[in-house]
Amino acid sequence: MNKTVLKTALAAVLMFGFAFALIPLYNTFCEITGLNGKTSGQVAEDILITQTVDENRVITIQFDASVNSKLNWEFRPTEFEMQVIPGKLYKTEFYAKNLSNSEITGRATYSVTPRVASLYFNKTECFCFTEQTLKAHEEVIMPVTFIIDSKLTEDINLMTLSYTFYKLES
């Protein structure tokens, strides 16, 4: 009987841990499958070697930026749309300005739509999840360089990269 109790109690404790294990599992799952629009952070430029460029295929990338209501910043892309050829390296910039009279730290999250396309969106330089501190009324230009993977499926010819800046609560 002690054995039964011990085993079942242990199972309960393990399942409590399993709830927390679901978080890395979920994130890994989303990264692998590209569900939820999560792209796999930053990648090295070496990826260019593996690309087969088809100059005739042009797709449109839209840029979107928004600021959470708690953060008194201005934040926008410097260009709203870009025509790109999959397999080539491109660069764009985002502009941010602190509108308040005090120093604020923010942090950006991003997503790619359509979700499955996020698997093919490789950023070689970005400001995802890095903490960005702006002094009162300070402006900053933040570059994003990216390569759309040439293996991108035929049915996708429009993608949106969206950033949202949140205030980092200390």
């Binding site: 569900l35 999250t109 205030k167 609560e169």
Partner: protein, 539 residues
């Protein structure tokens, strides 16, 4: 206790502890703890029901008459939390405590002291939960599913709700461990696994479900707590978290949870139907396997609760087909109940009436569930009154009917008094008609697009809502009548003495001990006889 009781049952020398504190507060007796659980569940049923009455009162007419929207949301949230965790689950644990040791010929539960703890945690947990009504900002109002970010914006009640959930989770897990330890180790000689009554089987499976998912729920609410108070970002997009992740974790718990609430009721009806059909249960072994199959499938279908969050087609297809698969073992069960009744020498005592109503109404609830399993149409039904109608058909005419039927079925054994068959039948017809007036129109409301969890609605929904409210008041009143019947039976007013067997030709160990059941039973560890058992498997 009274000398009269001793005189009428001179074989019943049961050494009950004297005084309230020793008898109830410090009890380790499975029957007393079972009684405590059942009384607690009934109290919570009335409390949760009262909240529902206010909800139906507000929805009687369009416009805001009695309560403000914020309080209305508190009502729907607390109604669900209290009914699920305070009424239905404790009631089934009460049945488990009372009946499992008797049904398997064990002297008591395996861990009687822990059993006392499992119960006495509950009143404190629910006092804490209910106290949030009196706090600034009121009770939790984000729905019983506690989705972030809404639930994190509701004030300090979150901490109370989370701790209450932790406590009742601990209580459930201890109860489940106790049930498993009892069933696996304390069966009387000759009580093989495939001779156990189905109520014992379904509870064994339920206990495993509880151990697997209650800790996951505890983990999920702990994450809500740390997100709110300690600056973590499990579900906070700003910190790289994901609110949709909460829904996945919640429903990984939530879907098995709905089977935790229905499997024991399958068990109760699988005891009642053979007794009144005077035939052994049709397909006993298939019932056991079907219960296990339902339990297994419950772990792999959770995302059908969240088709509309945005999921890839592959995911929607998988969860749709997996969900539909559940209707196969459930269909096996319904088939077996009907086949048990087929050509049986049926009589229609009150427990049997509830059982037949259950088979019909639960099947309606099952079919509306099947409709919502279809991913493309779920987008229309999602978060409408259609889902409200669905889960009330399975939870009220499934679980609650099982609890009521179980009380009628076993109360003669518990109290030694036969309840009034006439009052029981009035209670049944009153409830069976009013529940359909209450919930059936909600199907139409949902299909016409009335969203759930709103205090006010467009005027085209007025008529059905009025019917639903009238049905609701009638159903609520019927349950007050039920309490009167129970109290009269306990006190022996207008009742007759129950025989030991109670029901003609009833099988199962509980019918071979005296009525009322002595304080201690099956102390001698004698082997059980096959002819006493309802299900002697030929396997």
């Amino acid at each position: 206790m009274s000398h009269a009781a001793v005189a009428t049952h001179d074989h019943d020398h049961d050494h009950k502890p004297k005084g309230f504190v020793k008898r109830w507060l410090m009890t380790t007796n499975h029957k007393d703890i079972g009684t405590l659980y059942l009384i607690f569940a009934l109290t919570m049923f009335i409390f949760g029901g009262a909240l529902a009455m206010i909800i139906r009162l507000e929805l009687f007419q369009p416009g805001l008459q009695f309560v403000q929207p914020d309080f209305f949301n508190q009502l729907t949230t607390m109604h669900a939390l209290i009914m699920v965790f305070g009424a239905v689950m404790p009631a089934f644990v009460g049945f488990a405590n009372w009946m499992i040791p008797i049904m398997i010929g064990a002297p008591d539960m395996a861990l009687p002291r822990m059993n006392n703890w499992s119960f006495w945690i509950l009143p404190f947990a629910f006092t804490m939960l209910a106290s949030t009504f009196f706090m600034d900002g009121g009770a939790p109002a984000a729905g019983w599913t506690l989705y972030p970010p809404l639930v994190l914006q509701g004030g300090q009640n979150l901490a109370y709700a989370v701790f209450a959930i932790h406590m009742l989770g601990i209580s459930s897990i201890m109860g489940a461990i106790n049930v498993i330890a009892t069933i696996m180790n304390m069966r009387a000689p000759n009580m093989g696994y495939l001779k156990m009554p189905l109520f014992v089987w379904t509870w064994l499976i339920t206990a495993f479900l509880l151990i697997a998912v209650m800790p996951v729920f505890a983990g999920a609410v702990t994450m809500l707590l740390t997100d709110h108070y300690f600056g973590t970002s499990f579900f906070n997009a700003a910190g790289g978290g994901d609110p949709v992740l909460f829904q996945h974790i919640f429903w990984f718990f939530g879907h098995p949870e709905v089977y935790i609430m229905i499997l024991p009721s399958f068990g109760i009806f699988s005891e009642i139907i053979p007794t009144f059909a005077r035939k052994p249960l049709f397909g006993y072994v298939s019932m056991v396997y079907a219960s296990a199959a339902i339990a297994f499938l419950s772990f792999i279908v959770w995302a059908h609760h969240m088709f509309s969050v945005g999921m890839p087609f592959g995911g929607e297809l998988y969860f749709m087909y997996a969900t539909m698969l559940i209707s196969i073992p459930t269909g096996v069960k319904v088939f077996n109940w009907v086949s048990t009744m087929w050509k049986g020498a049926m009589t229609f005592e009150t427990p049997m009436l509830w059982a037949i109503a259950f088979v019909i109404l639960f099947t309606i609830g099952g079919f509306s569930g099947l409709m919502m399993a279809i991913a493309p149409v779920d987008f229309q039904y999602h978060d409408t009154y259609f889902i409200v109608a669905h889960f009330h058909y399975v939870l009220v005419s499934g679980s609650v009917f099982a609890i009521i039927a179980g009380v009628y079925y076993w109360i003669p054994k518990w109290t030694g008094n036969m309840y009034s068959e006439r009052l029981g039948k009035i209670h049944f017809w009153w409830s069976a008609i009013s529940i359909n007036v209450l919930f059936f129109p909600q199907h139409f409301l949902g299909l016409a697009g009335m969203p759930r969890r709103i205090p006010d609605y467009s005027t085209q929904f007025a008529e059905f809502n009025m019917w639903s409210s009238i049905g609701g008041f009638a159903f609520g009143l019927a349950q007050i009548f039920f309490i009167i019947i129970v109290i009269r039976t306990i006190k022996g007013k207008g009742t007759t003495k129950a025989t030991d067997r109670v029901w003609e030709g009833a099988k199962g160990l509980e019918w071979f001990i005296p009525s009322p059941a002595p304080h201690h039973t099956f102390q001698d560890g004698e082997a059980v006889k096959d002819e006493q058992l309802a299900h002697v498997s030929t396997h």
